[in-house]
């Protein structure tokens, strides 16, 4: 069972929390303007890194708040946690690092498939 640092309540056992997936995936401001590829990426594509991962948790059986955390998915150690709506702290590798380049330049090829 993980020990999870809620930024409001402090370290609590995993049983008090609900996992809510990769963080910082903002709903597109104008969904109607998205093509199918971009919409599919928003809904389904995930970075799923082996390493540092920014993710959302909810302290369901505590303060009830959603928050973000950076956890290493190889060691399961938490590096930091921070309030929902704030940016990923500097110094933690970002999700868009070179080990997971986006496939934007392949968009055309989807159309041909």
């Amino acid at each position: 069972m993980l020990l999870i640092p809620c930024p409001i309540c402090g370290i609590r056992p995993e049983a008090e929390f609900t996992y809510a997936g990769e963080a910082h995936i903002a709903r597109p401001a104008e969904p109607a303007s998205l093509d199918d590829h971009a919409w599919g990426e928003f809904l389904y594509a995930r970075t799923n890194p082996k390493g540092d991962h920014a993710e959302r948790w909810r302290h369901t059986h505590g303060c009830g708040r959603f928050f973000n955390a950076v956890r290493n998915t190889h060691t399961d150690r938490f590096i930091t946690s921070y309030l929902a709506g704030t940016a990923r702290p500097h110094g933690t590798p970002s999700a868009a690092s070179p080990d997971a380049p986006a496939m934007r330049n392949d968009t055309e090829q989807w159309g041909q498939a």
Binding site: L43, Y44, A45, K50, N105, D106
Partner: protein, 418 residues
Amino acid sequence: MKHFSAARLLREAVRGQSGWTEHWRSPDRPAPAYDAVIVGAGGHGLATAYYLAKQHGITRVAVLEKGWLGGGNTGRNTTIIRSNYLMAESAALYDHAVKLWEGLSRELNYNVMFSPRGVMMLAHTVHDVQVAKRHVYANQLAGIDNDWLSPAQAQAYCPPLRLDAGMRYPVLGAALQRRGGTARHDAVAWGYARAASALGVDIVQNCEVTGIRRDASGAICGVDTTRGAVSARRVGVVAAGHTSVVMAQAGVRMPIESYPLQALVSEPVKPCFPCVVMSNTIHAYISQSDKGELVIGAGTDAYTSYSQQGGLHIATHTLDAICELFPQFRRMRMLRNWGGIVDVTPDRSPIIGKTPVPGLYVNCGWGTGGFKATPGSGHVFAHTMAHDAPHPINAPFALDRFRTGQLIDEAAAAAVAH
């Protein structure tokens, strides 16, 4: 490769078992070039290589494995085999595999110990009963065996099952697929490895793929590994929980999340459990191996992870359910527990097919339930790689479905896939 037969066993018995040789060639490093490279020597990757060589005449094939052959989910799973899925596309895919399982030991000349002892899925609530009956009738219409059993019939099929109205989750009935069962996981990997190697396939262990090379046009031209570079025009990624990591090397983001899934076995006891019993509602799966161990499958952890170990509270939850259903097991001791990393898709159906990168193919997303599909998956994926076009059975399982929205939603159908 020496052929296994009763005569050969007898001959070796009188010669002190001195005539056996290694089952497959194990080259130290890959050759500089192949016609096709498979990333990952799990059951699915090895089966793909075997069918590429056997059915499509493509024998210049390498299977590159970062650890040891069969050391991923193939060697860590609870080996439940069944094809009673709700969606027509899934039922066709998994039943294709069950039909191949039925002749696999003969096909590979290797005993994979396929044991169609029946898979019984319990219903504990009115909702469960309705869902299970819906599966049963959908399967019957699709020509796939699945029967509805009353509680008494379920207990007749599996005498250890407790029927007691006082239970927290009483058994209200069960769906039984008689053609379902188990197979020996290691033997499946070893059997495919041996047969593929005999046809010329190179299986290179301790050889991690660290980069995927693309030429100026963007098409695949090879891979980098910890044992040197390899050129190839076709690369098939069959890396289960590590799919996102490998595909990122080619710049492709996947609709996959990796979760730990754990299983455990008890001390071995005499035969006492005749079939496979599963309960999705209370999260428990159990069968007895031929060695006598009870093989028990637990759920996934809540969060993504590559740690290959699950939380103890997840296993405890499953053992609570097992002890309630089968009180006679309460005093048994558990010998080992372990985890694998499963590749879960949003619709809980696999992805088998082409990718946006020419020459790059992917076979993944089997999540918590791909062992049962091993022969069928390898068979249709080899077809896809050989023809650069899917087999009719895997055509609906394209990666592109997450753009078109044509999902095969077993997630909604089962909540848990196994």
